[in-house]
């Protein structure tokens, strides 16, 4: 099993370590609820070094990334990033990812569990005079998320963080380490993601915790990362999206630029749009106690509508919340549905996300 450069630190902090995407990762430290609330209320730090980093460079890098992804790379300026997805020809999703535009290259940040598959797909669709480089094993990624993130990180760098807009990035030194400082995240809170070489991992981690201690900064595990993203209705590959779902039904039409020209999956997705969606990913809140889990069925008046793809009990709302695919005709906000929670029907309502 792979370890991140901070493995020993997590173990020393008493983290519960689990296997995730081939890595031994901290699933929680003190407790999921407290970690979750810490990020919503002040600030927390995630080691997400398992994420994959793939660089595409060369003369035709722009055309290559434009063809590989559904969002419009032409709209990206140097120093800017966006959320996007790669699709197969049939419109099914290979992965969702971030694309960062540098002067001379693109950085693709992909899901750890999909990295090998993505890399193979990217290489398969490589254009002439392009280079593909997998730097995943050399890069540590820390996500510093929460209202206090900027104030804490600003103490450690001369880069003007306030000048970095949402989904923009700068290269610079922070805590003595050269890095990519990106105003992005997977929590719905203000914050940054930092990418740098593994050799600086401990130094940066320690500096961030020193600077953050007056704010009660805490390490946050993958379990709270999941509940934080879910409260903001951010998709998780393998749950809410995969090769059998397309971005339009997943509610990712906003990143799918069907008019940008040719890209892999474009024809299939245009047809999906023309024919109309057969189902949609909806967000629901349980109206009685219950914990909706992946795979639980969704009903209305005895008719099966689909199934849950992600669920939890929101540490903020203290109610069961979830996402799931529901067939056409039943997806309107306010629709009353039922979730079959272990042989018991629990009433739920489709809501307009985010949950919090």
């Amino acid at each position: 099993m792979k370890k991140t450069a901070l493995y020993d630190t997590h173990v020393a902090l008493g983290a519960k370590m689990v296997e995730f995407a081939g890595f031994s990762m901290p699933i929680q430290y003190k407790g999921i609820r407290d970690e979750h609330r810490r990020v919503r209320e002040t600030v927390g730090v995630f080691d997400v070094s398992h994420m994959g980093e793939i660089e595409v460079s060369g003369e035709n890098a722009f055309e290559m990334v434009q063809r590989l992804t559904v969002n419009d790379v032409a709209a990206l300026e140097v120093g800017q990033a966006h959320y996007t997805a790669m699709c197969y020809e049939d419109g099914g999703i290979v992965d969702d990812l971030l694309v960062y535009r540098y002067p001379d290259k693109f950085l693709l940040v992909v899901n750890a569990a999909n990295k090998d598959k993505d890399l193979a797909w990217i290489i398969k669709n490589k254009l002439q005079d392009c280079e593909v480089k997998d730097t995943s094993d050399q890069i540590t990624q820390l996500a510093v998320q929460g209202k206090k993130a900027e104030e804490i990180l600003q103490k450690l760098t001369s880069v003007d963080l306030a000048a970095i807009k949402f989904y923009w990035f700068k290269e610079g030194e922070l805590a003595g380490a050269p890095m990519l400082i990106s105003r992005t995240g997977y929590t719905g809170e203000p914050g940054f993601e930092l990418y740098f070489e593994n050799q600086y991992a401990q130094k940066v981690w320690d500096a961030v915790f020193d600077a953050g201690s007056p704010f009660g900064i805490e390490p946050i595990g993958l379990a709270a990362r999941d509940s934080l993203r879910l409260e903001k209705k951010m998709c998780l590959y393998g749950n809410d999206i995969d090769q059998t779902t397309n971005p339009l039904e997943a509610g990712l039409g906003w990143i799918t630029k069907l008019d940008k020209g040719d890209f892999i999956g474009a024809d299939a997705l245009r047809k999906v749009k023309e024919d109309g969606l057969k189902r949609r990913l909806v967000a629901f809140v349980l109206q009685a106690p219950g914990f909706p889990r992946k795979g639980y069925k969704i009903f209305k008046d005895g008719e099966e509508l689909g199934s849950v793809t992600s669920g939890t009990v929101s540490p903020i709302l203290e109610k069961g919340i979830g996402l799931g695919y529901v067939k056409k005709g039943f997806t309107k906000i306010g629709t009353e549905i039922e979730i079959e929670v272990r042989n018991k029907m629990v009433k739920a309502e489709i809501i307009k996300p985010p949950f919090v």
């Binding site: 929680q28 999921i32 609820r33 219950g290 914990f291 889990r293 939890t312 009990v313 272990r342």
Partner: protein, 125 residues
């Protein structure tokens, strides 16, 4: 690992504490640690009959859901209502305020058959 002496234990990680014919039941510190953050505890109603080694409720944590098994046969005399609003007490105080049910037992011999703290320590290694 906290395994108080003076209590009895089951292989399903419940503890039991006897006071006359009333036995208080909860889950062990080990069990709450394995489950992680508890979000719901579903308990029987007062007056329900429960049987040894049969489920009397469920405990739902972020990671998983588990059945609760009754260590003894009897009638539910009291349930811990406060777990409805604050299920996380099971995590913070599993042997105290995190208790689940009180059972009025009918068969004293079942009590003697439960595991001691030493036996339970051996079970979870």
């Amino acid at each position: 690992m906290n395994i108080p002496s003076g209590l009895k234990y089951t292989k399903d990680h419940e503890w039991a504490k006897k006071d006359g014919d009333i036995v208080t039941v909860g889950i062990t510190d080990y069990a709450q640690g394995e489950l992680g953050d508890v979000v719901f505890v579903e308990l029987p109603d007062v007056g329900d009959e429960v049987s040894q080694d049969e489920t009397f409720g469920t405990i739902e944590a972020v990671k998983a859901v588990a059945d609760l098994f009754s260590p003894l046969t009897g009638e539910v005399a009291e349930i811990n209502e406060s777990l409805g609003d604050q299920p996380d007490i099971v995590n913070s105080d599993p042997y105290g305020d995190g208790w689940m049910v009180k059972i009025k037992i009918t068969d004293e011999s079942e009590w003697d058959g439960l595991m001691s703290d030493e036996d339970y320590k051996g079970l979870i290694g």
